[in-house]
C-alpha cells in the first residue's frame, strides 16, 4: 500500500508543472467537445490527438491522450441529454432518463447530476486502478468464454426492465435487434453474413444505428407532432444548474453502487461498460421506491449508470496496463500509443516503465478533477446555447446526425443507415415499441453469440462447462435467481391486483 502511494506520489511530481496541467486541461476540453459531437467517440478523439504527441515526452503525450479519453466520456452525455442523441452504447441510458428531464426544463439539473456522478464514478474506478489493478487483472484472466457468455446473458436480462407493458412489442424489438446484429463477418468461422453490399461485410455500424434511432427518429416524431421546446430565454442563474440537496441525496447511493459495478464489470473486454451501465440501471430500478418514474426522468436512473460509465474508463485501463489487453476501441488506440512511445504493454509494463504509467494515472486523477470543474461551469453555456437554438432544433439535429454519420468512416453508406433507422425509430416511437431492448440486443447479441460458440467449441460440444467451472456456476445461479425473482414479483403483483376490489 505504501509502495503504491509512493509510486503515485512520484507520478504526481512528474506531472505537476504548469505545462502538463495546461495540457491535461485542454485535452479534457477537447475530449468533451469531440465526445459531444454525434458519431465521434473516444477512438476518434484519441486518434485525432495522436499526431500532436509526436514531439512530446512520454509523460506529456500520455497525459494528453488519457485526458482526451476521459473528456470524451464526459462529453458523450451532453448530446444524449440535450438532443436525445447518444454517441455510444453506455450513453443510451443517459438519454433515456436525461432527455425527459431536459424536456421538463431540468436539463441543467440532469447535466449537473451526470457530471457529478461521472466524477465520483471515475474516482472510484481510479482508486481501484491505483490500489487493486494487479490483483483484479490476476483474477480477470481466469474468466473464459463461458463466464463472458453468462455475463452477456445477465446484461441481456435487463431487457425485461426496458420492455414496457406490451410483451409482444418487446419481443419483436429484441429479435429485430438480434437480426440487425448478425450482418457482417462471423468472427468464429470468417463467413460473411448478408454482405449484400461491400460496406455490409464489416456489419452495420452501431453508432449509425443509434444516431438514426434516437436522433433522427426524434426529429421526425417532433416534426410530425409539431413539438417545440419551450425552455424560455437564456438565463445565467447558477442555482438552476447545480443539483439541490434532495437530488444529491437521491443520487448518492446509486452513484456509489454504479461506481463499484462500473469498475468491476468495466474491466471485461468488449462491452464491459455497456453491460455495467445497463446492470446499474436495472439495479437502481429494482431498489427504487418509485420504479414507475424510470423512463420519465428519474434522478437515480441517471446517476447510477453515469457513475458506472465513467468508472469503466479506469476499469478498462486495468487489463491494458497489467496484461496488454485492450478492451475497447479507445484502449486499443491507447495500446498503439504505448507502443509508439517505446513501451511494452503487458505484465512487464509496470516494472520497465512504472514511472510513466504512474504519471499517466496521476494525469487521469487530475484530469478527472479538471473535467468536473469545467463541465459544471460549462452547463449554463450548454443549456443557454440550447435555448438560443431551440426553435431551430429539428434542422440542426438533422444536420448533426448526417455529418456525424458521415464522420464514422467518411462514407455516404452510414447516412443511409441513419435514414433507415431514423424511419424505424420514428415508427417505433409512434407505436410505443420500446427501443431499449432493440439497442441492447444490437450491442450484446453478437458478443453473446461468439462467446457461446467459443464455449461449446472449447468444451468439444459439451454443455457441462457451464456448471463445472466455479465462476460460471456462480453466474448461472445468479442468473436463475434474477429470473426467478422477476417471475415471483410479477405473480405476487398479479395476485395482489386480483384480490384488490
Amino acid at each position: 500500500m505504501l509502495d503504491t502511494l509512493a509510486s503515485l506520489g512520484g507520478g504526481f511530481s512528474d506531472i505537476l508543472n504548469p505545462q502538463n496541467l495546461l495540457l491535461i486541461f485542454v485535452a479534457g476540453l477537447i475530449g468533451t467537445v469531440v465526445g459531444a459531437l454525434p458519431g465521434l467517440g473516444p477512438s476518434a478523439g484519441i486518434a485525432l490527438m495522436m499526431p500532436l504527441t509526436f514531439g512530446m515526452s512520454q509523460t506529456a503525450g500520455l497525459c494528453l491522450l488519457t485526458g482526451v479519453y476521459l473528456g470524451t466520456m464526459y462529453g458523450g452525455r451532453i448530446t444524449a441529454i440535450l438532443i436525445n442523441t447518444p454517441g455510444d452504447a453506455p450513453a443510451i441510458i443517459t438519454a433515456l432518463e436525461g432527455y425527459p428531464l431536459m424536456r421538463q426544463g431540468r436539463g441543467g439539473l440532469a447535466l449537473g447530476v451526470s457530471a457529478l456522478s461521472s466524477f465520483i464514478g471515475g474516482t472510484i474506478g481510479l482508486a481501484v486502478l491505483v490500489f487493486f489493478a494487479p490483483v483484479v487483472a490476476e483474477y480477470a484472466i481466469f474468466l473464459g468464454p463461458s463466464e463472458y457468455f453468462l455475463l452477456m446473458v445477465i446484461g441481456l436480462s435487463t431487457i425485461v426492465l426496458l420492455a414496457g407493458d406490451n410483451i409482444f412489442k418487446a419481443v419483436i424489438a429484441t429479435l429485430f435487434g438480434v437480426l440487425v446484429s448478425t450482418f457482417g463477418s462471423d468472427y468464429i468461422s470468417g463467413y460473411v453474413r448478408f454482405g449484400f453490399t461491400p460496406e455490409l461485410i464489416e456489419g452495420i455500424d452501431f453508432v449509425a444505428i443509434i444516431i438514426g434511432l434516437y436522433g433522427l427518429g426524434e426529429v421526425f416524431f417532433n416534426l410530425e407532432k409539431r413539438i417545440v421546446l419551450n425552455l424560455g430565454r437564456p438565463e445565467f442563474r447558477f442555482s438552476d444548474y447545480f443539483p439541490d440537496r434532495g437530488s444529491l441525496k437521491t443520487s448518492f447511493w446509486p452513484v456509489m453502487r454504479g461506481g463499484v459495478l462500473g469498475t468491476s464489470v468495466g474491466i471485461l473486454p468488449g462491452a464491459g461498460a455497456t453491460v455495467a451501465t445497463f446492470l446499474s440501471y436495472a439495479l437502481e430500478r429494482k431498489l427504487s421506491r418509485r420504479p414507475e418514474k424510470f423512463g420519465d426522468g428519474a434522478i437515480e436512473g441517471l446517476a447510477g449508470p453515469e457513475s458506472s460509465n465513467n468508472a469503466g474508463v479506469p476499469g478498462s485501463l486495468i487489463p491494458l496496463i497489467t496484461l496488454g489487453i485492450p478492451g475497447s476501441g479507445g484502449t486499443a488506440i491507447m495500446l498503439g500509443a504505448l507502443i509508439m512511445f517505446g513501451m511494452q504493454p503487458g505484465p512487464l509494463l509496470m516494472i520497465q516503465s512504472g514511472d510513466v504509467v504512474w504519471a499517466m494515472i496521476a494525469g487521469l486523477i487530475v484530469g478527472n478533477v479538471f473535467l468536473l470543474a469545467s463541465n459544471v461551469l460549462l452547463i449554463p453555456v450548454f443549456i443557454n446555447a440550447l435555448r438560443l437554438i431551440q426553435n431551430h432544433l429539428s434542422s440542426i439535429v438533422l444536420g448533426l446526425c448526417v455529418v456525424g454519420a458521415f464522420s464514422l468512416n467518411y462514407d455516404i453508406f452510414n447516412i443511409w443507415i441513419v435514414l433507415v433507422f431514423g424511419a424505424v425509430g420514428y415508427l417505433m416511437k409512434k407505436n410505443d415499441y420500446p427501443t431499449g431492448p432493440f439497442i441492447l440486443a444490437v450491442v450484446l447479441a453478437p458478443l453473446t453469440e461468439n462467446y457461446f460458440r467459443q464455449t461449446i467449441m472449447q468444451a468439444q460440444g459439451s454443455w457441462d462447462v457451464f456448471v463445472t467451472r466455479p465462476v460460471s456456476l456462480g453466474l448461472l445461479i445468479f442468473l436463475v435467481l434474477i429470473v426467478a425473482a422477476s417471475i415471483a414479483k410479477k405473480v405476487v403483483a398479479k395476485r395482489r391486483g386480483d384480490t384488490t376490489p
Partner: protein, 165 residues
C-alpha cells in the same frame, strides 16, 4: 392496429423474411459448435412467428374494458370520435404523409451527396425542414442554416479534417 404499426411490422417482416431465406444457404453447424446460419435462421423464424401472433392478437375481439383501453391508447381511434374527428384524422394523415415526404427528400439528398458532396444537399435539406416543417420564414431558415453550416464546416472540415465536400 394503426396504419403506421402495419407499415412497421410489414417492413420488419420483409426484412426477417429476406434474412431467413438467405440464412438457409449458411452452415447451420460447424465442427463442434453452431454455424453462422444458426442465429439468423432461428431468430428470423421466431421474429416472423411473434409478428404473426401480434397481428392475430390485434385482430382478436376484445372485452369492452380492453377495447376501451385500446381506444384510449390509439390516437387514430381517438381521432375517429367526436365532432372534429374527420378534421383531426385528416390532420394526422397530412402530418404523417409529410414525414414520409421528408424521408423521400432526404433519400434524394443522400443519393446526390455521392456526386456533389455532403454540404450542399444537407444545407438544402435543413432549409426545407426549417421553412416547410418547422414553419420559419424562408429568410430566417436560410440565415440559420448558413450559420449552422459554417459552424459544422469549421468544426468537422477545418478542425477535424473530415472531407465533407
Amino acid at each position: 392496429m394503426k396504419t403506421s404499426e402495419i407499415v412497421l411490422l410489414t417492413g420488419i417482416s420483409i426484412f426477417a423474411g429476406v434474412l431467413l431465406f438467405n440464412s438457409l444457404d449458411m452452415p447451420f453447424s460447424s465442427g463442434m459448435t453452431f454455424g453462422p446460419g444458426f442465429v439468423p435462421l432461428i431468430v428470423a423464424g421466431a421474429l416472423l412467428l411473434t409478428i404473426a401472433m401480434k397481428v392475430l392478437h390485434g385482430l382478436t375481439p376484445r372485452t369492452s374494458a380492453g377495447a376501451q383501453v385500446e381506444m384510449n391508447d390509439s390516437e387514430d381511434r381517438v381521432a375517429s370520435t367526436g365532432d372534429a374527428a374527420p378534421q383531426r384524422a385528416r390532420s394526422h394523415l397530412h402530418a404523417g404523409l409529410g414525414i414520409v415526404g421528408l424521408m423521400g427528400v432526404m433519400a434524394l439528398a443522400i443519393a446526390s451527396m455521392g456526386y456533389i458532396g455532403v454540404m450542399t444537399p444537407l444545407a438544402l435539406l435543413m432549409i426545407l425542414v426549417s421553412w416547410y416543417f418547422a414553419g420559419h420564414s424562408l429568410i430566417r431558415s436560410i440565415g440559420v442554416t448558413l450559420l449552422v453550416m459554417l459552424a459544422i464546416y469549421g468544426v468537422f472540415a477545418l478542425w477535424l479534417r473530415i472531407p465533407l465536400h
